[in-house]
Subunit: 415 residues, 2 copies
Amino acid sequence: MSELLLKAKKANELTGLLGAASTAEKNRALKFISQALVTEMDYILQENNKDIEVGKANGLSDGLIDRLRLTEARITDMANALEQLTDLHDPVGETTFETERPNGLFLKKIRVPLGVIGMIYEARPNVTVDAASLCLKTGNAVLLRGSSSAINSNKALVTVIHKGLEKSSIPKEAVQLIEDTSRETAEKMFKLNEYLDVLIPRGGANLIQTVIEKATVPVIETGVGNCHVYIDETAEKSMGIDIVVNAKTQRPSVCNACETIIVHEKWANQHFTILVDALVSKGVELRGDDIAMQLDNRVNAATKEDWATEFLNLTLAVKIVNNVDEAINHINQYGSKHTEAVISETQSNVDKFFTFVDAAALYHNASTRFTDGFEFGFGAEIGISTQKLHARGPMGLDTLTSSKYIILGNGQIRS
Amino acid sequence: MSELLLKAKKANELTGLLGAASTAEKNRALKFISQALVTEMDYILQENNKDIEVGKANGLSDGLIDRLRLTEARITDMANALEQLTDLHDPVGETTFETERPNGLFLKKIRVPLGVIGMIYEARPNVTVDAASLCLKTGNAVLLRGSSSAINSNKALVTVIHKGLEKSSIPKEAVQLIEDTSRETAEKMFKLNEYLDVLIPRGGANLIQTVIEKATVPVIETGVGNCHVYIDETAEKSMGIDIVVNAKTQRPSVCNACETIIVHEKWANQHFTILVDALVSKGVELRGDDIAMQLDNRVNAATKEDWATEFLNLTLAVKIVNNVDEAINHINQYGSKHTEAVISETQSNVDKFFTFVDAAALYHNASTRFTDGFEFGFGAEIGISTQKLHARGPMGLDTLTSSKYIILGNGQIRS
């Protein structure tokens, strides 16, 4: 039997036991892992360094090397996050609905773990610890399939996770790394419906698209964010500028950063130059439609492709519109259903925006950058869902659960 | 553009408008459709008769012909169900979570329609009206893809639904039938991620498996029920017999009927003959393991395949065990995660069964036949999910919704 099948089968066998584990047992396991990360720091850094060396030899960009790199500070952050996770509410076992039927049947719906979660992810090795800990807290088994560029780091981290688990009552096979990083093995994992309950891909658009196209196991689509800020006619000048600058430049490389702004022509006629001043001073390159280019010659021409692009850098597309309906249509045509914001003092336009824009998170008078499990108060996040089934938006611990109906009778039969 | 693409695109364009429709508007539309079903009864019966004639000429079994057949009584039932649907709570717009964050952002999570639902189903034409009405009530557009054997009935029913919708404020394209019933078109529909938010297959195991294997659109897996009743050592004699007879024989052709019974050896030693008497008198054929065959010579030998089979008829498999753990292992190995029951007076065994059996609905001292949206008090049901994502068990109106986060600010930016 292949490594994948052996590990998937083992994970599946553990689901009953993991679902029955108490919150205290799970928290103890998380604390032991947190401690192991600190005591094994040198070993982790040494193994991570192997990946960094290989990455440099292979000519990875500085940005990618930085995403791959672990440091004392980053490992300490991971260890602290594990400690914090022990304080969060454990959703497993919670009753979410109950009713007594006229025939005397007492029915309740309780939260249970999803079962076995397959994580498919790219370079950042911190996802290994994040995903493992969130799955442990919710009584799920997890199969981790990271990329070959982080294989030494991921092996080291899972070895350390196992050292922690060995001190706890949770079997160490609750967390397993698929060490074979070949594409063939990944594709087999996509179709392991017998053993896996869900796949969660985390990474670039290509990775996510591949999983959606090839998987037969249910997938939760995450992450791609082509987010817009619409500045309406009545938006307050400084609020519009501050929010756009923040949404674009505070951290351009993340999915909730803004990629296109849509500006009402009347607002633009008064304030566009000052907005462009503020953006350009932060290093933003603007690409706009004809009207935007006429309003300010620092705006370059946008292509149709620009409207659909998640730049993840300091490029920003600009469209000028005559009303909120044009803004809504543009967003629904080009957006990725992640996060959209409207800046306006006209309530009827805000209501329209909230009703007709189809996205996971909609903001009035605030930056798109708040779409995040921590900012929403969930305490943790396994990803941001951009699909409509099961979970939409930042995914907290609840989203790693399914349900069971428990029905108590005293001999009821159906007539 | 093909029929499929035209209709899918049209459905997708309507999602904003349908999501914004008021409960009163949607209920008026349902009432008009209900009336149209009654006034157009002769036309529907005449078109249904064409399918019946073709079916007979093609040698369809009496069972399949019966599933295909519409009658005055059946159409009246559909019309009444539509009336009843208007009384049910409309989940759209409901707030399911709200919080104020320390930075002053006010966040709420509201229910919204899923968007466009693709229904893929086999012969029974009543699914056409069921699915259309549940989708309408929840503000979803629906693309109906029935089987060629019911095409005349389905066309007639959708024509009548459109007559009803034309009197309402809901555009008739909210409900569209894909008239091209070729397999190629179905397979294109499975991959229409651009326009469809979810596929719900309803029918036999083969249909459902095909959709799971080929679809890239998210699927809700429904329906296959290999359900068990476990009679524990301490089960009351008459309760055990009554529940098994009811679960197996009250309506053997449905997914929540029992397919295998598992009997504790000590209970069997005392009561097995009386249980077999009761089952045989109802026409049940028993297929069991060696011990069951030794206990009663009316039991034939079971093959390994029998343990995994959803018979949907009066065949019943029988396994004798020494304890609840063996019962749980057998169920988790062969069950389809639909419905499982334990008959016992030993609370610790019931608790173990509830914790370790992995299924959508678990019963103590009641028949499996209650797993059904109406019996659970949901008032309606679009199917019974046997997967863990999004919805598990009988799917009421809530399960046809997704969510949106609405966040209200006064200029918040992220630091």
